[in-house]
Amino acid sequence: MAERLRPAEKFKRDRVPMREQDPNERIKNFNEVPYGYSLEEAIAEAQRCLQCKPPSCVEGCPADVHIPEFIDKIIDEDIEAAFKEIKLTNALPAVCGRVCPQEEQCEGACIMLKKGKPIAIGRLERFVADWAREKGLTDEPPKEKKQKRIAIVGSGPAGLACAADLANLGYDVTIFEALHKPGGVLVYGIPEFRLPKAIVQYEVDQIKKLGVKIYTDYVIGYIKSVDELVEEYDAVFLANGAGAPSFLHIPGENLNGVYSASEFLTRSNLMRAFDFPEYDTPIKVGRRVVVIGGGNVAMDAVRTAKRLGAEEAIIVYRRSRAEMPARAEEIEHAEAEGIQFELLTNPVRVIGDENGNVKGLECVRMKLGEPDESGRRRPIPIEGSNFVMDVDNVIIAIGQNANPIVARSATGVKTNKWGYFIADEETGKTTHPKVWAGGDIVTGAATVILAVGAGKKAAKSIHETLSQE
């Protein structure tokens, strides 16, 4: 049991850094970049926690993780107890500890942020979850079962979080997944070097141990409608994700060598094209690869391209660095890996050769004007500044639209003008009394943790509603 520090000492100490793979090495492999804390490092970081009452960090956590409590148990060196504390509210700690934007959530609300060194809550959560996985701790199904049956459409973070909470309450939960592996964006979207797939698999397996059934290869909207699910189940939670890539609608976008980020990442992550020909799905990465966009998906795509052998992997983004929506950590990782940034630059057309392959990208330089409705300064093209970059691939990472397959089989569940389900922010209730919805198919593309939060809110609301019946 490690000692409890006095507040003055806590303030004196710095955040414990996390060791990571050297950038020159990691651009040659798909192994995870950070190594994670050792027990000693985790304890040293945990000792800095002020144990605030009430804890502001928990306010910032959509998964309501009992943060001070689990951190305190790390100081006790009782990692199993810390794990159980986290698992009370979060079924995906190894995932969240890695991919949550903690700086906007728990760590952004940490009192220590005022000193510029918030507690590394994400790293601690990850440490505890990894420790539990290595020790093989498993979840136990609840002793009391309820007779009510819940159908969940989609096995991404929203669906998994909802399933775990409902299963823990004793409900009979079935998830329908369109792809051949469960996990949704955690599996097809986020690269191995940021979120190893074995970790996702482990957390999914834990949720299965709670009694949740997962049917893969089952596309609701085709094989069965939401209407049929409503007939067969007591409640339905729609968590199918945004699921349709946006394109730029510029000339040349259908040339060979142009990918949506979704296709590029699905090939590499879900289908493991990075390991071709060991795996059969091909991917073609040339010498110079441009990724268009400034979000986390763009960073994932550009860093993947680099690892797939691109000599130059370049972000083209129409605003300046300050407006980039990607997490600071992702941008820093990309920079360390030699990713180039062409900021205030917008693509105009993709140029092809005589065989229909990409050979260039014409861009125009931009300047920032007045703020637009998003509050960010609007980029304006600078006339006459067009130039052509020689490129072999163009990857478009400018966001998602709503995939209509599920929605068009759901009578009475209203969507907005963009095709997203209309659902109450606090409960996930839709316009149909037996249907809830949450995650990206409600909000448009957002983060894993917001989807987890939406799944949890829906689970709570479904439980409340079904308990009243």
Partner: protein, 280 residues
């Protein structure tokens, strides 16, 4: 699930399989497709449904061995389970009782996917004229099933070993030259070059023609956009907006270029697989 119930070899490179998939069979409609992964490290292979039986709980697929995945699939045995089998996918063919005759054209293994559409059209009371063609009579598949699903069948082979000698688009043109007035709708399914030729032939007589596109796909549910095709100047996703489109609006040259995207890598994968498995 997704067990191979029955496997038949119809020619050197053409195979038919009945796959156990009760829920897929129940939901499948004419013109839809499935995606399968033969074994764990495999890729997702889209194939149009050739037939299905709700009572017996199977879906029929017909495929030609062209690369590693189809070769591997062809070497799997009855009783084995596919790693993944998902469907039905895509929009069903829009069928109704059309005035006059409907012409169904199937080229090569494209004969298989016209079968459920022809059958449905005939069930709905249409007069269905099927034109089916292949390189040689050995490669001509499903003739008996097409006979059952049609009111009239015209067979053509490139070498004249059976039926008329020549390409199906030429046969179509000959047919339209006589019967254009009575034909209200045409479907053509086969290699893109054949669908393009049929579209040109139909255009000469101002007849609407539906084609079923088979671009490269990954998820097959509208998530990735690998299958994008230009239709009437707009980008469409063949998996969710199709696979059937108005042939007159399809940019076939772009489709063909996009299909060649991975040719070298596909060849490499095939060679490595053959070497590993000791196949000449």
């Amino acid at each position: 699930m997704a067990r191979i119930l029955k496997k038949e070899q119809w020619s050197e490179n053409i195979f038919s399989m009945l796959i156990e998939a009760r829920d897929v069979a129940k939901a499948a409609k004419q013109g839809q497709f499935i995606i399968l992964i033969p074994r764990e490290h495999g890729e997702r292979v889209p194939l149009t449904i050739a037939d299905s039986s709700v009572d017996e709980g199977w879906v029929q697929i017909v495929f030609q061995v062209v690369g590693k995945s189809t070769l591997e699939l062809s070497r799997m045995d009855e009783g084995e389970e596919l790693f993944s089998f998902v469907g039905p996918l895509g929009m069903a063919s829009e069928v109704e009782k059309f005035p006059g005759k409907v012409v169904m054209i199937g080229g090569g293994i494209g004969i298989a996917p016209i079968h459920p559409i022809a059958r449905k059209l005939k069930e709905m009371g249409n007069y269905v004229v099927s034109i089916i063609g292949a390189k040689t009579k050995e490669l001509l598949i499903m003739e008996d099933k097409i006979q059952e699903a049609s009111s009239e069948v015209i067979v053509a082979t490139d070498d004249g070993s059976k039926g008329k000698k020549g390409f199906v688009n030429v046969v179509l043109e000959e047919y339209l030259a006589k019967e254009a007035d009575s034909v209200s709708k045409i479907w053509a399914i086969g290699p893109p070059i054949m669908m393009k030729a049929c579209t040109i032939s139909a255009g000469k007589f101002n007849k609407p023609i539906i084609v079923s596109l088979n671009p490269i796909m990954v998820d097959g549910t509208g998530m990735c956009g690998a299958c994008r095709v230009t239709v009437g100047g707009e980008t469409k996703f063949a998996c969710v907006d199709g696979p059937e489109f108005d042939g007159a609006l399809v940019d076939f040259d772009e489709l063909m270029a996009r299909q060649r995207q991975y040719v070298e890598l596909e060849r490499k994968a095939l060679e490595l697989y053959k070497a590993k498995e000791g196949i000449a």
